[in-house]
């Protein structure tokens, strides 16, 4: 990955964070809203492999934590694990379609929500593992139906080889490119 790819990735994370706080957080259905940031971590893992997924998850998590009342770094830890795991899941199926990746991204995002609640409960945050945790997970999954594909498209752009450095292509899943 070049400096340009990192810049694009960081830009996507910042834009996603602004969209999350400014827009997505305000689209509330039955008390819950979607989560772009966790989808970004999962999507990065699916497209760029475990390492890029983990790094993207770390950056996205640190940004997401700025808007959350929970201990700083909790989202970063969660998203690192989500991004890495999504990368491992995607590795054997590098040629999967965007539709399949979108669905995998959605599932990983939902799993990340559960993981976040579990880790929060583990460090002593009260009220994290309740029936509403499942409802929030469903809400994130439902939101993923809309938000997964735009996230994947944006991440494909971020990980693509910039013009002039070779053919424009998406780096195959599985982390074959060097970080």
């Amino acid at each position: 990955m070049t400096a340009s790819n990192w810049a694009r990735l960081f830009l996507i994370c910042v834009v996603a964070f602004i969209l999350q706080v400014g827009l997505v957080d305000q689209v509330v259905v039955a008390g819950y809203h979607a989560d772009v940031m966790v989808l970004l971590a999962a999507g990065a893992g699916l497209i760029g492999g475990p390492q890029r997924g983990a790094v993207t998850g770390f950056v996205a998590g640190l940004l997401a934590d700025l808007a959350l009342p929970t201990p700083y770094g909790l989202s970063a830890l969660t998203f690192v694990l989500v991004g890495f795991t999504a990368g491992l899941l995607a590795a054997p199926r590098a040629t999967e379609s965007l539709l399949a990746r979108g669905l995998t991204c959605l599932v990983c995002g939902a799993a990340g929500t559960l993981l976040y609640a579990f880790l929060a409960a583990l460090i002593g945050q009260s009220g994290m593992l309740t029936s509403s945790t499942l409802e929030a997970t469903v809400a994130v999954a439902a939101g993923g139906l809309v938000l997964s594909w735009p996230s994947l498209v944006a991440l494909s752009w971020a990980f693509a080889t910039p013009r002039g450095l070779g053919d424009r292509h998406v780096v195959p899943s599985g982390g074959s490119a060097t970080l």
Binding site: L23, V27, G49, G73
Partner: protein
């Protein structure tokens, strides 16, 4: 090659997990809490205009969607709110009316021109039962000391004369009644005397001047003169009766025709005061 890659991936994961846990620990145990809180606050401040702008656009859409999903509940809530608004409007109207009534009664208790006379507040019960009468009925009668011949006033001035009484009610002949005749003076001058006669519901009062030594001006007040005579009822002097609306010289220039408008519109009265004053025998 694959082993190296896997090792690299694991090292990266380990480093990032450790970094996350370090940040988490620093915040959780308070060492970096102030800095993180400060950064969070600044980010919140920076994003709040965006949030407000988006909220301004999204909330109407969200409300519409929510309204569509919860149509029944919204309709029910709307009905409840409409009922509450109706109740509040009724209460407001009642309060306004009570306030207006209180002001009317208060005004009757502070009539500046009654002098030593005692005003007795009364509620107007009804107007005339016939369209051709100029009377009103009040809720005070002989049991309250009201007697025929007593003047009845409103906050602005003369209303009429008590013509008959029951124990708890009295009938008042209004100033507009053609049978009402009142001795008056124009302005503060004791010299311009005359008699005012009622001329019906909407007509101006007719006035007959005995003498006029000074020019009469439009807008001047006309008061009871306190004089009485043949066919002219006696009243205490100084009660405002009417205002001069026009003054015209008669043919030949030997006199003037003065037109008066009563100060009190009896159709709007709810409270009056009976001046407990007995006409001289």
């Amino acid at each position: 090659m694959a082993t190296t890659r896997r090792t690299s991936q694991r090292v990266t994961l380990l480093m990032l997990v450790l970094a996350s846990i370090t940040v988490l620990t620093l915040d959780y145990h308070g060492e970096a809490n102030k800095v993180i809180t400060s950064v969070r606050n600044r980010v919140g401040d920076g994003l709040s205009p965006i949030q407000r702008a988006i909220a301004a656009v999204l909330h109407p859409i969200g409300d519409a969607v929510s309204g569509a999903f919860h149509y029944g509940a919204v309709q029910q809530q709307n009905q409840v709110l409409m009922n509450e608004i109706g109740t509040m409007r009724r209460e407001l109207a009642a309060n306004n009316q009570a306030s207006a009534e209180a002001r009317s009664v208060l005004a009757l208790d502070h009539l500046p021109w009654v002098g030593n006379l005692t005003p007795l507040d009364a509620v107007v019960l009804a107007g005339p039962s016939s369209n051709f009468e100029y009377t009103m009925e009040i809720d005070r009668g002989s049991s309250s000391g009201v007697a025929a011949g007593m003047p009845v006033v409103g906050a602005s001035g003369f209303v009429g004369t008590v013509v008959s009484t029951g124990a708890n009610h009295a009938v008042v002949r209004l100033l507009q009644d053609p049978r009402s005749t009142i001795g008056v003076r124009i302005g503060d001058r004791g010299t311009d005397l005359g008699i005012v006669t009622g001329a019906g519901r909407h007509a101006n009062l007719a006035v007959t001047l005995f003498s006029s030594h000074t020019p009469i001006h439009k807008g001047e007040l006309v008061y009871t003169s306190g004089t009485s005579g043949s066919g002219v009822s006696a009243y205490p002097a100084g009660i405002p009766v009417a205002t001069v609306t026009s003054v015209h010289a008669t043919t030949g220039g030997l006199g003037v025709t003065v037109s008066l408008r009563p100060l009190v519109d009896p159709t709007t009265l709810e409270y009056v005061a009976v001046l407990l004053w007995t006409p001289p025998a």
